[in-house]
């Protein structure tokens, strides 16, 4: 695997839209060619090389390409957008849409990410060592197709509206999570090792939520069913099992009505 290193040398006055920073866009290119790829700031189009020091050539394919992003990229959006293979390591924190629409490969952010990370994710792995913003693994604005496959691991806390319209895949949050978890979800799984606040599973019709800590305020649309013992993310524990959102339509699978499941540790 070949490694391309991007080092921020010229922090933009506005925000940099770097939708070309992905193993797919870099594959088969030399450092000079990569520096020549477009990047947008406001209504102007520039080059990646205007903002980053680029060193190292990419591999022949996306799968053979690793990208390391160094320096202050808190004003850079769309890192890893639509990546299908290969690897990206962001050594600091980054802005909106990190790993959005990714379909494969692995992206690691050592700091925090802002909102809309992994929007519409369809595969691959996203690891956020710091905190995640709002709308992690959610659907794009207006869309009803959120994260459908792949895994996301947030080592810190996550914001609100995580997994909105999620249809598959898994999100694990080691810390706490803000309001609106898996709203409208039709599948997939979210595990929160810390605490949740409120509006957990609102309008959810399918999928599973595990809260290992506490929920400040339960949704009225969730109904207690039973208490089960289950192993979740390496922890074996007893959970109160709720189904919902009973205010929504629910499909049937093999003659059984399917509900969203909410498990809270007892």
């Amino acid at each position: 695997m070949e490694t391309v290193t991007l080092t921020m040398k010229n922090i933009p006055a506005l925000y940099l839209e770097a939708d070309n920073v992905s193993p797919d866009a870099f594959a088969g290119k030399t450092a000079a060619q990569i520096a020549d790829l477009h990047a947008y700031v406001g209504n102007t189009t520039g080059r990646l090389g205007d903002y980053f020091e680029v060193s190292g050539n990419a591999g022949a394919t996306a799968a053979d390409t690793k990208i390391v992003v160094k320096g202050d990229v808190t004003k850079v959006k769309y890192l890893g957008m639509k990546m299908s293979a290969g690897e990206i390591v962001v050594e600091g924190s980054t802005d909106l849409y990190a790993g959005a629409w990714m379909t494969g490969g692995k992206m690691t952010v050592k700091g925090n990410v802002q909102a809309f990370a992994a929007t519409g994710m369809r595969g691959g792995e996203l690891v956020i060592e710091g905190n995640a913003g709002n709308y992690l693994g959610a659907a794009y604005r207006g869309d009803w197709r959120g994260m459908s496959k792949g895994t996301i691991h947030v080592m810190g806390n996550a914001g609100s509206d995580v997994g909105m319209y999620m249809t598959g895949g898994e999100i694990v949050v080691d810390g706490n999570i803000d309001v609106h978890v898996m709203t409208h979800a039709e599948g997939g799984r979210i595990i929160v090792k810390g605490n949740a606040r409120s509006k957990v599973g609102g309008q959810m019709v399918d999928g599973n939520i595990f809260i290992l800590g506490t929920i400040d305020l339960m949704m009225p649309g969730f109904k207690y069913v039973d208490t089960v013992e289950q192993e979740v993310a390496g922890t074996k524990a007893k959970f109160a099992h709720f189904i919902g959102d009973i205010g929504e339509r629910h499909k049937t699978r093999k003659g059984q009505v399917v509900y969203g499941n909410l498990y809270t540790r007892v």
Binding site: Y140, R141, G142, D143, R249
Partner: protein, 571 residues
């Protein structure tokens, strides 16, 4: 104005009966002229080995107005990754199934369309519709106000008052700068205001106590009383339901025995739109089947009817119609987001996104039905290609629909790609059809036919001297067979040259001018009718949420470049 002579191309023009012969097309002062009328300064365009047709005419699309814009507003995801930045003569645009106004004009022009009709204008929102039409460059446009659920119309027709209905129509066409009488789910959309629907032509409309059959027949008679350029244009009751072809036949049989009366050469009294959505058999989604043959057998016999197809293109799209109850029904089927707009005394529209998936048997059968209709049509001058944009698919897919119609191989490739291929073949007749439409038939179905149906036969849709110089040159050599059907799609997607009223607007598939866009409308004169004028004043005072003075579309802001077609129905 500039002069052009397009030399050595193969001309396909049903208006003059030219079937691919080599002929020159001369353009002067915005009109087609005889070669001899050109001066020596005429610019020569070499069309050797290329196809020349008139500019195409869109007879039914939803491209301007409040429900189109509602679709744009509530579907930001339709714009995702579709933005085209400003370049050359083009302003920025975006959107796939509901493109921005500018993109709409550019895309039509690049495919060789020079005239298009907005198929459902709510009269109350005509100002909005005209503002969007104004901002859609290049193509001439008209808009059909909807009448099928209008309180005035229902009250007059209940008492058989054709003259009053006609006077009201004439007033409304003038007030809203409308082009024709559009009917959407007659009576059913008014019933929707009461939470109900009309699924057959005999279901009474609540309160008004009139039936869809009375509305349709009355509006045909009022249309012929006025002698409007287009006929009554109907979207029948019971759209989209299995077994609805009987409702469709019941509706179009209402035209039997009625003769066209107009000075435009129009021969039909009823236009049946997006026929694909109205040609279904079976009684549930499991035994859903095509009744295209039954519908077309009737249409082929009945010379006073024209139709358009409404081809499903197998895309993700946005359905939108003034058939409010249907959209509510649809959101119950696909569970995607639903929006509804109530339009007071006139209509009610709904919007729901839809994905025509090749993996779903019903969608694949719908695809086949749309193609069957065009392939069973005996008279291509009475059957026109549409996608009911954006309902069955975006208009930008016309080249693909033409590919399927012109190539059996292309149809077989698509049928083989369906997940439920066997079901498509058992529930439709598509597999047994060998017919491949010719370029001449395509020219009839997309140009001469719709122009004639719209009453524009003397103006567009053909290349006879004296007609508007709407001329398209395609990269198609009719002397060389296509190696691959995809070449048909590519050629119709991006024309080599397009002239709109004598102005070169497209060259090598790129926009080179924003043209001289006009708004077509019909100015019908009738005898003074104090009763109708009093009824209008009274309804505005009693029911409308705005005043009459704020209703009309007048002046430069709404219709900057009008082209009025005059009709005199005074006695």
């Amino acid at each position: 104005m500039s002069e052009f002579i397009i030399k050595n191309g193969h001309v396909f023009d049903p208006v003059q009966g030219i079937r691919g012969d080599k002929a020159d097309v001369a353009i002067k002062d915005g009109k087609i002229v005889r070669d001899s009328e050109l001066s020596k300064s005429a610019k020569v365009i070499d069309a050797k080995g290329k196809t020349i047709m008139a500019g195409a005419v869109e007879i039914h699309a939803h491209i301007a107005g409040p429900k189109v814009n509602l679709g744009r507003i509530y579907r930001p995801e339709d714009k995702l990754f579709t933005c085209t930045p400003t370049h050359g003569h083009e302003r920025t645009g975006s959107g796939n199934s509901i493109p921005t106004t500018f993109k709409t004009g550019y895309e039509y022009a690049k495919m060789g369309y020079t005239t298009a009709m907005e198929a459902a204008m709510p009269p109350l929102f005509s100002r909005h519709t005209h503002e969007e039409i104004r901002d859609t460059p290049i193509i001439d446009e008209g808009a059909f106000p909807v009448f099928g659920n209008n309180w005035f119309v229902m009250e007059y027709l209940k008492n058989g008052e054709i003259e009053n209905t006609a006077a009201y129509i004439a007033w409304l066409l003038r007030a809203t700068k409308g082009y024709a009488i559009k009917v959407v789910n007659p009576g059913g959309t008014e019933a929707w205001h009461w939470g109900l629907n009309c699924l057959s032509v005999h279901d009474p409309v609540p309160y008004f106590d009139i039936t869809p059959a009375q509305i349709v027949k009355g509006l045909i008679e009022a249309n012929e009383y006025l002698g409007l350029p287009h006929s009554m244009h109907v979207h029948p009751n019971n759209l989209g339901n299995p077994g609805n072809y009987t409702t469709t036949l019941d509706t179009i049989k209402l035209a039997e025995g009625i003769k066209p009366k107009n000075k435009f050469g129009r021969e039909q009294v009823l236009h049946l739109t997006h026929t694909q959505f109205h040609s279904y058999g079976g009684d549930n989604w499991g035994n859903f089947e095509s009744k295209a043959k039954e519908v077309m057998d009737y249409v082929n016999r009945q010379k006073n009817i024209t139709i358009d197809t409404g081809n499903v293109t197998l895309d993700e799209t946005t359905t939108m119609t003034a058939d409010g109850p249907f959209e509510h029904h649809l959101t119950g089927l696909n569970h995607l987001k639903w929006a509804n707009v109530d339009v007071e005394l006139e209509t009610a529209a709904g919007v729901v996104p839809y994905i025509y998936s090749p993996n779903i048997s019903v969608c694949a059968i719908q695809w086949a039905i749309g193609l069957e209709l065009a392939l069973y049509a005996k008279d291509p001058m009475r059957c026109f290609i549409t996608t009911d944009h954006p309902n069955a698919g975006p208009f930008t897919r016309y080249p693909r629909v033409i590919k399927w119609l012109m190539s059996k191989k292309a149809r077989e490739t698509q049928i083989d790609a369906f997940k439920h291929k066997d079901k498509v073949l058992s529930q439709t007749g598509i597999g047994a059809i060998d017919r491949e439409l010719t370029l001449y038939e395509i020219a009839a179905m997309t140009r001469a036919g719709p122009a004639k149906s719209l009453g524009l036969a003397s103006m567009c849709g053909g290349l006879a001297p004296g007609m508007d110089a709407d001329v398209v040159v395609y990269n198609i050599n009719p002397e060389k067979p296509f190696e691959n059907p995809d070449q048909i799609e590519a050629a119709f997607s991006r024309a080599a040259y397009v002239f709109k009223s004598g102005t070169e607007v497209v060259k090598d598939g790129e926009i080179v001018s924003s043209g001289n866009k006009r708004t077509l409308w019909v100015n019908a004169k009738v005898n003074e009718n104090p009763q109708v004028m009093r009824d209008i004043t009274e309804k505005f005072l009693k029911y409308y949420s705005i005043t009459q003075a704020n209703y009309e579309s007048l002046g430069h802001a709404f219709v900057p470049n009008p082209y009025a077609i005059e009709v005199d129905a005074t006695l």
